[in-house]
Symmetry: C3
Subunit: 154 residues, 3 copies
């Protein structure tokens, strides 16, 4: 199911049984596994890697440098980043500011969270809605806040 208003560029590797909702945009060179859902207005940037059984909710912005494992839930309006010191100047891919971000198997990111680039969200971790993630989140932990801190094991 690909909504007719969705934009899927050439050079995207789409798995089986992927749903893409209205106004979503999937850019070239990204790879999306089986049984994934890409929500309304979501943006999947070039080179993003997404595993199987992943839900990317409405308006989530997944930028170049994001690596997403299997069984991950990305909530609505979640925003990722890839430039630690964003600026209109310079070539962000080649100036030492670019960092990748890892969403490990089974983790969930609550709605409207902001993920600062360069972190690893651990296996089965849960980031509470509205958080700003600035550091790694350990496997299996619940974390939330601005900045997000690990609160307890789930």
């Amino acid at each position: 199911m690909i909504h007719p208003t969705a934009i899927i560029e050439e050079g995207v590797e789409l798995g089986e049984n992927v749903k893409v909702w209205a106004f979503a945009h999937i850019r070239t060179g990204s790879k999306i596994g089986d049984n994934c859902v890409i929500g309304e207005g979501a943006h999947i940037d070039t080179g993003v890697q997404i595993g199987n059984n992943v839900k990317i909710q409405n308006h989530a912005l997944i930028y170049h440098g994001c690596i997403i494992g299997n069984d991950v839930f990305i909530g609505p309006n979640v925003v990722t980043t890839n430039d630690y010191y964003p600026s209109v100047f310079g070539d962000w891919k080649n100036n030492g500011r670019f960092r990748s971000t890892y969403f490990c198997k089974g983790c969930s990111i609550g709605a409207n969270s902001t993920i600062i680039c360069g972190v690893r969200i651990g296996v089965d971790a849960l980031v509470g809605a509205g958080s700003v993630v600035t550091r790694d989140i350990p496997d299996g932990f619940l974390a939330y806040g601005n900045p997000a801190r690990p609160i307890k094991e789930k």
Copy 2:
């Protein structure tokens, strides 16, 4: 006024004099009262109930389980939720995690706020922009922050 790019599914109950802006999506089974404005890119999920004279600003995401009274202002990019422990697994409507959220008459939700499900935003309450609402907000109070705390009576 319904913008030609807006998507309004069958089975929506639209009141009189409703404006729907570009790239908005209103899902089946939702009910929208008279004199409402649904902003650009906003998403109104299945079963959402919206009263009269309500403004839903651009990109706001109003999910299943939200009940919105009359005269409510929902700011741009406000995100609601309905699953207290979001996960890619399970049937979120029937696993005990689903909670409704109530926006009482005359309340206003500032831009980019995140509303954790299960709360009641009181009559004429004001939630400051960028807040994360995790608990009920009393009638007539100004609240803000992450997490949002009642600050003073308006």
Copy 3:
């Protein structure tokens, strides 16, 4: 480069070499300088003034009353405001609640930040991702948090 799904109203003053991505909307009476990029799903409201060499990233919402200088970076999902006490009632442009917001030359606003109206983001300032800006940010300072506080000179 104007994407065919973008909406550019009549009465927009567009500079040279402006790129406008999918599902963006630029409203009448706004002015956009040379070499700007307007991201996917971004909204540029009536009367907004944008200088040269500005990047407005995906889903950013730039409302009436925003004045943006040259060389400014506005991150994805950044939300501006223009009504200090938002409400569904009254004429927000003429009730004393409207305030302008200034983004000075060379400043950068991190992803998903919320800008409360009436502030001045200083020259070359950097607002960290996920911040809520409630006060002026001095020239050349890094600021972040909710509320955003100046942390150090860059």
